[in-house]
Amino acid sequence: MSGAPDRVPHAKPALTFSGTAASPGYAEGPVRRLDTKASHYERKASPAEEAEALKAAIETSAERLAVLASRSAGEAADMLEFQMAMLADDSLFGPALDAVANGTAADEAWSAALRAEISGYETADDEYFRARAADLKDIRQQVLDVLGSAGSRDAPAGAILVGDDIAPTRFLATDWSHGGGIALTSGSSASHVAMLARSRGVPMVVGLGPLPADFDGVALLDAEHGRLLLGAEHEAAELFRTSADAFAAGRRKAEAHLHRPAVTADGTPVTMLVNVADPEDVDAIDIATCDGVGLMRTEFLFGKAGGLPDEETQYRAYRRVLEWAKGKPVTIRTVDAGGDKPVAGFTVEETNPFLGLRGIRLALARHDVFRIQIRALLRAAVHGNLKVMFPMIAVADEYQRAKAMFAEEAVRLTEIGIPFAMPPLGIMVEVPSVAVAPELFSDAAFFSIGSNDLTQYVMAAARDNASVAALNAVTNPAVLRLIAAVARFGRDNDIAVSLCGDAGGDPGAIPHLLKAGLRDLSVASAQLASAKAAVAAARV
């Protein structure tokens, strides 16, 4: 993680430091220290004047935060509102004013009051709360800057800001339009700044370890691999610039495609949906860039400490995604535990879990658990365009039984007067028996091809076993022929067919999937842009 410099015997000392990439990208520019400027505070004549100075500094800091907040939105606005609330709280400035009344200087009193709070966060068990220490340090520094009449906090355009950590307000006050980046000796990828940096595309590396204090030249920040190179003449500079150009070109190309509809080079439109593993994922996705959710997994609800999720927890999670989708379709898959996804208190120990009690088989064996999920889905369906699909269907009877349970729970909700809607019920096509004989499942509302499992079952090669990885290929003619047959059956019988496995986001596989007749792909949101680019380059 952190690093001693790899010193290379060379005319110029070439220093490379390794850390963790917190926001990907590349930056080259002058180093600007975040922590050298100690603001100088002049003591006042009396405790009363010290108190006035401290109150005035807090007030000025609050006003500056309000200005920043008025220009910010989302995550940044929330963070600034939090800081404003902290600054306005007499639990924070009260002890400082008490110390001032007893003769302590305003800057010392303020630092001491904040020190106690900061150390409380630094020792927290939970990473989220630990990361809040940076917010408290930010608040401390803002007031100290006003007290010491420190000058502008602006850095030169395109600078690499280097320090132990960076204050969120410092990040927001910096003009990133001319490039630049952040290199931290400590820091956290869970910090507010890291979140802001990712959303603004500012390169950032954390955990670099001690850096030479006297360096003031040009630095090269590689926030794709988590490295900082000191010196423009660094022996790896040429390689750095090549990588930076490739990264920028890739990002530009992908960005250009992200906001366009997906259409092949010969004019065939393709529906592009996203896969969602956790409701919080959708906060980072612009619904305008996709056609909806092709697969929302529900296992995240089942893997948590505290046991299996209750109906209310599930209802809220489903509803959140449905409301985010603003009427676009959201396909939620009923719990797909088992196989490589064990759940305490639900799945069973098996010698061959991929061929055992998993997916719909387990759900049908555990009515108690499945009925809770069904009720939550029926209730959530009122709040958007919901579709529900069952995983690991092998025979038509499984689909009929699951469908009957939906009907039974709908009757119960009617009886107790709770609003609900019956969503279209479809199936995953991932067991070869379905792909070979799709006509046995023609009463399903839709098909969604799970290419990961379909491939591993057709090829008898596990996807998590490196020694047979070459066999696990969706582009094998046998797998593609099955996919094409399912797509054709769907077209001939008016059953929508989509694909939601990893292959849907794989630029190498996409032309083959389109040739096989698929026109609906659901991909991880991080791959949406590159998948759209691959569609645009394909001909069908």
């Binding site: 609330a85 917010d135 927890t313 809220r316 007067g417």
Partner: protein, 103 residues
Amino acid sequence: MSATASAKVEITHAVGLHARPSVKFTKLAKTFPASVEMALAEAGPWIDAKSIVKVMAAKAPKGTTLYLRASGDGGAEAVDALVALVTRDFDEVGEGEAHVRSA
């Protein structure tokens, strides 16, 4: 003259009582004239529910049971409103009302 109201409620929000929920929680508490306190155990220690500094410092993770008590004007309303806010997951699920409508 000052009635005391109390309640307990479990935090189900994914992260716990973190920055944004704490801001909402303390802002709501401040709208009541009553003195409002919270604790992570029935025996205390009790802290001022109107102080963001104190509420954040409690570092209440998901699954924590929050104890609330209030005395003075509007105490019962304050406790009810705060319990409702926590039960609604601090309105972080979706915008607008989060109540279950009955048919």
